[in-house]
Symmetry: C2
Subunit: 366 residues, 2 copies
């Protein structure tokens, strides 16, 4: 058929999606989920102050958002102890990872990640023709030394490392991460995804050092701050690296409502503390439910818990399918041996009541 | 300095922004604008139903937006008489133009546009290494025949054509546009930007024909629908072309609040009719104000009016600077001879009172 000419790279790409959304699953099963515990969203919601700010901003949605996200960058800079021009605000970490892949990767350029880590990073790398080198997890943790060694051996331009990790919920202490940072090759960029950092123990994040051009810290309002649906994240790093985003980003891509919500939640430390407490309680309860059913919960520094179902992928998959069939939306890791687990996000008490009630049924049906 | 390696293309790009936002101008002048008439936003606001829907959705912003934008695509499909898989929803036309450039353009590939048309298109073309061929306006209208001839001569992969046009507000009737569509080379894609179509006379848009893989219709909620700050647009076309977006788009890039607002406004035909009436009245009044000051308003099928200041760029620039200095945010075309004009967005009565009061002062000071 005659028609437009796509690039050779685009012709070679599959039409793929990193994740199927819960709404699509609900449409397929013809019923809503009773508990939405699969996407590591914050069921405790956004800060009431953020909700109020967004509701107020809705009437002003006729105005484009400030393309500089000036006020939000200023607040983030104060929050993190850096300068505003050491921060770029973007459409969630997903959007920022896309920009980052575009900035660094041409066809054949190497990016290193952990095998089974964030699929959206892999999607963006493939989307710019990059070549992924994948490093195995080590005892359910990402392996900093192996990531660095692989980056060095392959001449990688980009390393992706999440701390805490998704999908396992594991984490490394700040000293380990600092050791990794110190070992990054001098022409490589480490994308340090700290999406869950507000939910991790003190001492998980090394100090932010914007004098180092080899590290970019990625933070988001999608997890602890409960604003996944607003799409706000930021990257913090050396101003020369931050400036590069100005060359390619969608300058008018930020929602004005999202900017208002992020600004309001950043000022509401009490809400963050409350979410942290609720997440900790929910993690504990998910662990209890798992153990009561003969399963093994993994330690988590995030708002989800990976639960070892005690066998292989087939077993975990069967448990997941039964949970989903009974209205409990959960997900699971993609790669062995992590795929012996299901991954359950922290829920409200009602959500976890439903999980507690359904899990024995799901297990007995598998 | 050691540091990350960007792609050669990125190294070659300037850190640029298609437009400086009004907020940055306000920060520079140290005072807010009295009237925000420079960005062709809809000062009449979003539909009250959209505001209510977004305010309600704010509490649910902890959930990611549906990556398929299923409900919104379904509603848009019904609205436009096409199938849902002939529509892709994206982060405004800006976001969709970025995806489109990425889908089609590699280094040196040609895209054709009008000289002085939408800078954000040019930004995206440059950002993917494409080569821009620019065609002059003809009597303040984009020139369909010249665009087609240039595309044919240059082997262009992409043509950008806005109808109605920005920044001049001029338009071509549907028959002319259909003639252009019929003449698109069989391996070229025409991006037909109809951002302002709801504000144009009946008979401006040719029928949507999704059997034709060579045309993509771009529509937005940013103009007549008053949701610029929510970031929602869509592209309508052949399903094979639409499917290509699935390979590269940021699947979880849509704000859940924006999806709710767009869905609500699409169902509120009464609000659209009211905006159309207010825009028509504001256009007329801007014309009267211009004429009363000895200037010549151009006919417009949009929510703004280009005003011929009667001389050259220097004159228009001086008038613009005076208006801005007196708190009236307006913009102007970039390229001669269109840059003899200033561009004034439709305002509320209060906005236009301020414009009416300020214009004589601005003119006498130049």
């Amino acid at each position: 058929m005659p028609g437009p000419r796509f690039t050779p790279l685009v012709e070679s790409l599959p039409a793929t999606v990193p994740f199927v959304g819960p709404e699509a699953q609900e449409r397929a099963r013809g019923a809503p989920f009773a508990a939405r515990l699969g996407a590591n969203e914050s069921v405790f919601g956004p800060s009431p102050k953020a909700i109020a700010a967004m509701a107020k901003a809705a009437g002003g949605a006729w105005m484009y958002g400030d393309p500089e996200s000036h006020d939000l960058r200023k607040a983030l800079a104060a929050h993190h102890g850096v300068a505003p021009d050491e921060i770029v605000v973007g459409e969630g970490i997903d959007g920022l990872l896309g920009y980052l892949a575009r900035l660094t990767l041409g066809p054949g350029d190497v990016a290193v990640t952990s095998d089974g880590a964030y699929p959206t990073f892999n999607y963006h790398v493939a989307g710019y023709g990059g070549r992924l080198e994948k490093v195995p997890y080590r005892e359910d943790h990402e392996d900093p030394e192996a990531l660095i060694a692989t980056a060095r051996a392959s001449g990688a331009k980009l390393i992706y490392f999440a701390n805490p990790d998704n999908p396992m919920g594991s984490w490394h202490p700040a000293e380990t991460v600092q050791g990794m940072i110190d070992a990054v090759p001098e022409d490589t960029l480490l994308a340090l995804d700290e999406a869950y950092i507000e939910l991790a123990p003190d001492g998980t994040a090394p100090p932010i050092d914007t004098a180092n051009p080899n590290v970019l810290r990625l933070r988001t309002f999608s997890k602890a701050y409960g604003l996944a649906g607003a799409r706000v994240g930021c990257a913090i790093g050396h101003r020369a690296v931050i400036r590069a985003f100005e060359k390619i980003r969608n300058h008018f891509g930020m929602s004005r409502i999202a900017q208002a919500g992020a600004l309001a939640t950043l000022a509401d430390a009490a809400w963050l503390a409350e979410v942290q407490a609720r997440v900790a309680a929910a993690r504990a309860r998910i662990g209890e439910i798992a153990r009561a059913n003969g399963l093994t919960p993994l330690l988590s520094a995030t708002n989800f818990v990976a639960i070892d179902c005690g066998a292989d992928r087939a077993r975990a998959q069967a448990v997941l399918e039964q949970l989903v069939a009974h209205g409990i939306f959960v997900r699971m890791p993609f790669v062995a041996p992590q795929d012996r687990c299901i991954r359950v996000s922290c829920g409200t008490e009602t959500d976890l009541d439903a999980f507690e009630k359904t899990l024995p049924t799901a297990l007995s049906a598998t």
